[in-house]
């Protein structure tokens, strides 16, 4: 059910761990399936110079965290904010429909971490995180 890319990022996840002096930290959990994702960002001049994650979740959640942290490293905050769950899923050569929300979780966690950084800087946060239903599925009926 998982692509080779997903399995690769699940088996050999990139960027696992924490960053001691992270200046943007985000944590997001999906109560419907009890998974939790945490991201640590090191941001300099609004550019993400390092990103790490810890994830409690399924294979898709771990692979999404790994891919998402890879994709935002070296990006500006604006670019990282624009990274959609669909882009993460596509970079993983797709996710099963019932697992799309795991990529949503990665997008939300990045938004949380960026806002954490902005708030710590005394700046305005950039708005509400996307909701779980943004991928066009409803968590209860994703099996369809």
């Amino acid at each position: 059910m998982y692509s080779e890319k997903v399995m690769d990022h699940f088996m050999n996840p990139r960027n696992v761990g924490t960053i001691e002096d992270a200046n943007g930290v985000g944590e997001e959990g999906n109560p419907s399936c009890g998974d939790i994702m945490k991201m640590y960002l090191k941001i300099e001049n609004d550019i993400i110079v390092d990103a790490k994650f810890q994830t409690f979740g399924c294979g898709a959640a771990i692979a999404s965290s790994s891919m998402a942290t890879e994709m935002i490293k070296g990006k500006t905050l604006e670019e990282a904010w624009q990274l959609s769950n669909k882009a993460v899923a596509e970079a993983l050569d797709g996710l099963p429909a019932i697992k799309m929300h795991c990529s949503v979780l990665a997008e939300e966690t990045i938004h949380k971490a960026i806002n954490d950084y902005l708030v710590k800087q005394g700046r305005e946060p950039w708005g509400e995180p996307v909701s779980c239903s943004s991928c066009g599925h409803d968590c209860d009926t994703c099996g369809e």
Binding site: C33, G34, I36, T55, F56, G57, G59, G143
Partner: protein, 383 residues
Amino acid sequence: MDHAATTYAAPEVVEAMLPYFSEKFGNPSSVYSIGQESKAAVDEARAKVAAAINAEPNEIYFTAGGSESDNWVLKGVAFANIRKGKHIITTAVEHHAILHAAEWLQSQGFEVTYLPVDQYGMVSPADVEKAIRPDTILISVMYANNEVGTIQPVAEIGAIARAHGIYFHTDAVQAVGHVPIDVKAEQIDMLSLSGHKFYGPKGVGALYIRRGVRIQNLIHGGAQESRHRAGTENVPGIVGLGAAIERAVAAMPDESVRLAAMRDHLITELLKLPASHLNGHPTRRLPNNVNITFEYIEGEGILLLLNMFGICASTGSACNSASLEPSHVLTAMGVPHEIAHGSVRLTLGERNTEEDVLYVLEKLPEIIQKLRSMSPLTPEELR
């Protein structure tokens, strides 16, 4: 090690089925020679199934599997006994075939009591008795749980049901062929079983209905199965079911001891890992079932990594893998959601050896460690 989900059909079972696909393909309900060969084969299978649970052959009806048998019982008894009442007693830890059929009956105006279980997944016979009302028409309690392996106090519940004149059904899909069952001694009125849980074919099962039970049909139509279950008989499947059940019952005395020893070896060693807990009853459990929760991590990750090493396992029930909800069984046993997510079920089978056990014991701790090191929930000392 996922034999509770499904098994292969044993080679001798397939062998027994083969002639009924081709030269002996007749319709057992037809009156002439080629049909009669099939009929004799179906009757022989019926006798084998009956013998396995101490029923009479004419109390065995073939179905397309455990789910059909379960649905048949709930809906068939409900609609047939509506004059007596509309109340059904079951448990919170049944298979979804029972639970969802019961929910459907609720949508039709029936009332269902879902009995709780204790921390080991056991139903209390006293709770069963307390739940009985004048309008109770059916008590359905599974024989053994498919996720945690807990064996219910079936005989006690059977005695209570009989004393109150209420029908008692047990979903024995996980138990048949694995533990001895005697429908007479245990006062069971109806029992569901399914071929692919004991090295028989998929898509064929049976329902035992004690003579005299009032039950309507689920599948109406032709006069097959003494007019109780319509549809051209799946002759090869039925023959395979008969061969498989006979074989499983013959092997049971030795095989259950062998499996239980491996089971206990796995449990003892895995519980030595920190923050791990056994799910299900410590002693009253299926000989092949190991179900352990590892805190701070999620079951699917464990399964994927086990799979990399060629080990099949499950988290919750395989039937549920399309759903993202934590196991209703663990939830009913009071296991918190986050912890329920980290459960792994290993179910042993006839081709497993002590070598396989040692291999799991080599790989699984590494996997747990790897996933815990990635999890935000893991306490520092366990990383």
